[in-house]
Amino acid sequence: MLYIDNVGKSFINNGISVNVLSNITFRVLSGEFFCLLGPSGSGKTTLLRCIGGYEKVTSGTIKLNNHTVSAPGIDRIMVFQGFDQLFAWKTVSGNIEYPLKVNGISRVERRERTEKYLSLVGLHNYANYYPFQLSGGMKQRTAIARALALEPPLLLMDEPFGNLDAITRHTLQRELLRIKDETNTTVLFVTHDIDEAITLGDRILIFSRQGTVKSQIENNLNRPRIPSMPGYASLWANIYETLGEG
């Protein structure tokens, strides 16, 4: 479904070219939950932004369903880390419905989808709230519902739970897995948290601090994955070793 082929990315900084990503190759299969794991500054967010079409790759190609990615599009909806990704001037349901309206979906279907995805993220009682009235967790739920309502083939998530407290983060991780099962969407998820990658990912791609791929790990643990289950600790240790000093 998603082909990342020998992708490199460099920025010019004060006349000096700095490599952020080099020789990145992997593929994400349809219906998969794929995690990009690495330390801060390893270029995983840059890669996600390239896949999102916000930045151009310096070398290599990114193909989604055989189309080369060159600009943002509704076949890849991004969920960001920042709480300000919602439109402050629209209510929760307005935020979910507006992208559907923009894309010419009929009023009846807009209503149906908004209802459906509001319930899916558990916010049906907050439909008429404005973003400033919501907690951080509720804002991220709304952003997820907005992304899902467009029913994109691929969901790009850039540390969406990074600003949340640990308890809310765990709740939202569990809910994201449930939602993913119900919608059968494909997810590409960026994180720097080993536990988050293990809890969520079917496969985990590990980045080095230099922006190269260190290793790709299959995660066959049964769900729900909790730290006390057999295999969890050894997988954690394995990833930790691979990450090393970065």
């Binding site: 599009g73 991004m78 960001f80 920042g82 439109f87 009235q133």
Partner: protein
């Protein structure tokens, strides 16, 4: 609970502001009656108010106010369009940004009234001259406000807009304008105040346009006729219109938009 407190404090504000206004009127009346100043030059507030109500009732003040307001409205509308275009132009790249900045630094300090002779040469003794003066005094401060607003839009809002398929005018209308709405509203408010002032000033210098003169012309004429009460009644009209527009019009727009969205800056 929260709502209740809010409406209670609005109620309090109205009472307090009303009390201040009444006190000022009373003070005026006292000073006028004290005989310190010649009553021909410093008429009693009650006399002014009476003249104001009489002239409102017979329609004259309303008529000339509408003449001024229609000039201001046309000037504001033209300014709004030009200021928006200039602001978006400035966002299109460094060259255009510099261009708009240079235009602004040339024209912003230039008082509108100083341009009146030029306007009269270009547009003659017509409404267009006054509208030109109004637009000149409104556009530049408006551009500054709009441009600040456009620059303050969080990049994430734009990126979400692009992600859901918005481009060009649709992105501007759907995301950029609402995201910059606090600055756009304040730009329009500043523009309104500027337009009001320059319209009155231009009318005073310019005189009547065709058969109808506005408030500025009326102030000039009443002074010429030594109708000081009439002059003050016209000044009172300007204040009343100002308060009505500020407190009712702009406040209700703000309550429905940026205050409701908590987008106050």
């Amino acid at each position: 609970m929260l709502n209740n407190n809010k409406s209670e404090s609005i109620y309090k504000t109205i009472i307090q502001k009303g009390f201040i206004l009444l006190s000022l009127m009373f003070l005026w009346e006292l000073i006028a009656r004290s005989g310190i100043f010649n009553e021909l030059l410093f008429p009693r507030f009650s006399t002014i108010a009476l003249s104001f109500f009489q002239q409102v009732q017979n329609g004259y003040l309303i008529e000339i106010t509408l003449v001024s307001l229609s000039l201001i409205f046309k000037g504001l509308l033209i300014s709004l369009i030009i200021a928006l275009l200039l602001s978006f132009l400035a966002m299109m790249g460094n060259f255009f940004h510099n261009l708009v900045e240079v235009l602004n630094s040339i024209f912003h300090p230039l008082p509108g009234i100083a341009l009146l002779p030029v306007a009269m040469l270009w547009f003659g003794l017509s409404e267009a001259s006054i509208i030109f003066i109004i637009a000149h005094s409104v556009i530049w401060p408006m551009v500054i406000s709009f441009l600040t607003g456009l620059k303050s839009i969080p990049r994430i809002n734009i990126e979400v807009g692009q992600n859901i398929g918005l481009k060009g005018p649709a992105l501007i209308w759907g995301v950029m304008l609402p995201a910059a709405s606090p600055y756009i509203l304040s730009g329009i408010k500043i523009g309104w105040a500027r337009a009001w002032r320059s319209a009155i000033a231009a009318e005073m210098v310019f005189g009547a346009v065709g058969t109808a003169g506005g408030l500025g012309w009326h102030i000039f004429k009443t002074r010429y006729d030594f109708d000081i009460v009439g002059t003050f009644a016209a000044l009172l009209t300007i204040m009343v219109v100002g308060i009505v527009v500020e407190e009712l019009f702009f406040n209700s727009i703000e309550n429905r938009t940026i205050k409701r969205w908590n987008m106050i800056v």
